[in-house]
């Protein structure tokens, strides 16, 4: 598969179908056993690449938020820029605050994760990933662990991101989001890409039987 710059690709499929694994292979949290991954013309699989450098260019947001619980929201966002990019503290704070504003949490900058709701934590996690100024963002079922009423605030942030032209690969069960924001939908089952295409086509007129069966279960 390939993803163009600025494209929003949504991956759907039954659990255990390899969606998350595919996503985690892209920044090599999981080592691909075969195949190659090419980012901006440069192969990032193999032993020669500095994976830490590559990961700075690929933001990731997790189902379980994974915020650093000993740090405040703003510290979560600025930690990596300060420690790894050696960004000036004030500059990092400024950027960090701007990002928190973007996700609507500027007033919560000094709160610890435990003092925030799930939706707020996830938005901080998005800001944290954005702080490294990535070229691609990976979203791994980021709304699955949220209470239903908190899902929207996270999706809204993601929609805004998509509108701003971010390249995004999104694993989700939110078909509404897929239809509205997705440029392309990929259906996976059993570790392979069964079908891909425009959201309207996949959701209303899928070619494969397996896709149809899956969609009939969730729609």
């Amino acid at each position: 598969m390939s993803v163009d710059k600025g494209e929003v690709v949504v991956i759907i499929g039954p659990s255990g179908s390899g969606k998350s694994t595919l996503l985690r292979c892209i920044n090599r949290l999981e080592e691909p056993t075969s195949g190659r991954i090419i980012l901006d013309g440069v192969e990032i699989t193999g032993n020669k690449v500095d994976i830490n450098k590559i990961r700075q260019r690929i933001g990731m947001v997790f189902q379980q938020f994974n915020l650093f619980s000993h740090l405040t929201a703003i510290q979560n966002v600025t930690l990596a820029p300060i420690k790894i990019k050696k960004m000036d503290k004030n500059e990092a704070m400024e950027t960090g605050m701007r990002l928190l504003e973007k996700v609507g949490l500027a007033d919560k900058a000094d709160y610890y994760p435990a003092q925030l709701s799930g939706g707020q934590q996830q938005r901080v996690a998005i800001a944290r990933a954005l702080a490294m100024n990535p070229e691609v963002m990976l979203f791994d079922e980021v709304t699955s662990a949220l209470d239903p009423e908190l899902v929207k605030e996270v999706l809204d942030v993601m929609k805004q991101l998509a509108k701003d032209g971010m390249t995004m690969i999104v694993v989700t069960h939110e078909t509404g989001f897929a239809k509205e924001v997705g440029d392309r939908v990929i259906f996976m089952d059993d570790g392979i890409i069964v079908e891909e295409g425009k959201p309207e086509k996949i959701f209303s007129n899928p070619e494969h039987e397996r896709t149809r069966r899956f969609l009939s279960m969730i729609l």
């Binding site: 920044n27 949290l29 830490n52 450098k53 590559i54 990961r55 700075q56 690929i58 933001g59 990731m60 997790f62 379980q64 994974n66 915020l67 650093f68 619980s69 000993h70 930690l79 990596a80 420690k83 790894i84 610890y112 994760p113 435990a114 003092q115 996690a125 944290r128 990933a129 490294m132």
Partner: protein, 201 residues
């Protein structure tokens, strides 16, 4: 005062040794893991008194002569290091795995992730256990009296030897230990309350 000095120095060295060995115990590197595990097993499986005697009386046999105090500090540090290693291991394992992934996904190396993300949280989680270790070590430092270090317990014995009164001096010695250990445990429960603000929900 000697007791306090020996204990503080030993716990500091013990923390360094223990952190390294603790990292070894969660390491995927077989050699590092093996060395750490062997170290912890040997130290935990032998009495501290014997370790002290080996360092002070045994090492000279292979040509290493140490003054009582350095010998005492080495023995205590090496011993507490083994226990702290276990504490550090538990602490690291108490931090959800996802945090390591999140840190790595931001581009941090394994060591950077450990240093900035995992260890600070691990340390907070095991603060009570570390304090217990500190208190235990403080009391164990009394064993150093056998290698003629004039610490609290030995002072007590000297007074007993000159006054032929065992009751009051030893009671006094016990009281002095309590005066050091009680504030310590107070301090920890206080700091835990303060740190509690960002406890997991």
């Amino acid at each position: 005062m000697v007791t306090l000095k020996l204990t503080v120095l030993s716990i500091l060295f013990g923390l360094v040794i223990g952190s390294i060995a603790g990292l070894g115990k969660v390491s995927k590197n077989k050699l590092f893991f093996g060395i750490s595990t062997t170290y912890v097993e040997i130290i935990r499986g032998t009495p501290l008194l014997v370790q002290i005697l080996i360092v002070y009386f045994g090492l000279p046999a292979i040509g290493i002569n140490l003054q009582p105090e350095p010998a005492g500090i080495i023995a205590l540090s090496v011993c507490s290091g083994a226990y702290i290693a276990e504490i550090v291991r538990v602490g690291i394992e108490s931090v959800p795995k996802g945090l390591m992934e999140a840190a790595r996904s931001l581009g941090m190396s394994y060591l950077q992730s450990m240093r900035y993300v995992i260890l600070p949280q691990a340390f907070r989680n095991v603060l009570p256990a570390l304090c217990n270790e500190f208190i235990a070590l403080l009391k164990d430092s009394s064993l150093l009296s056998v290698i003629s270090i004039v610490e609290l317990t030995r002072v007590g014995r000297q007074i007993v030897n000159t006054t032929f009164n065992a009751w009051t001096p030893f009671l006094g010695v016990a009281l002095f230990y309590l005066m050091m250990t009680i504030p310590l445990s107070r301090l920890v429960s206080y700091s835990q309350r303060k740190l509690g603000t960002y406890e997991v929900t």
